[in-house]
Symmetry: C2
Subunit: 121 residues, 2 copies
């Protein structure tokens, strides 16, 4: 069974996170092995704290307006391996181990399964 890594973010690191007017920060999940970008969703301060504490991706669902512990319903949990913040602190990048079929609610491995233009040969 996969296991996540608890992230001990320092106060200085956390102070670099910039939440938007809705109290949210963008969070990208990337597969730690294949390096596929799996999805992008949002976190508020509470979901970020839980993600670090549990070593599992916990987003904020904007549509449901509630904490979204990824995989609690679907089984497609995401276990945190590494976490980064960008130069202006408004986007986070998580390297994760993706459990189950994939990240996408459609059953696809990644939410970015549709290409613009003609499919590459």
């Amino acid at each position: 069974m996969p296991a996540g890594v608890r992230i001990d973010a320092s106060p200085e690191q956390l102070a670099n996170v910039t939440f938007d007017a809705n109290g949210l920060v963008a969070a990208i999940a990337q597969d730690v092995e294949t390096r596929e970008v799996l999805m992008m969703a949002w976190m508020n301060a509470e979901s970020l704290r839980r993600t670090f504490d549990e070593g599992r991706m916990v987003y904020w669902s904007r549509s449901r307006q509630e904490l979204w512990r990824k995989g609690d319903t679907s089984g497609d949990r995401q276990y945190v391996r590494e976490a980064f913040y960008d130069c202006d602190g408004d986007t986070l990048l998580f390297l994760v181990e993706q459990e189950g079929a994939g990240a996408c609610h459609t059953g696809a491995r990644t939410c970015f399964f549709r290409a613009f233009g003609e499919a590459p040969s």
Copy 2:
């Protein structure tokens, strides 16, 4: 010199792009070779159209409220190789060839150069 690929997005594909209340969609740039996530920024309809037409990443600068042809000033252009949209159409993923030192205005290769917690050994 790197060259971008013109993306011929179909009307059906474009209709899947969901712009937010500010007319913006999130755009992730990933290095086509190293698979590093380089940055996340925003596009409006005009910058998306130009990105597809020119095969170069053209964002919308929220701070400057203007089109931002990535690299016009810095030289750090991003050439488009493939483009994807996610399951709910509110985030785009571009595989790019990154020219110059890197994607970040700090000179770093990726904007996600700072890790939470202790640096991995």
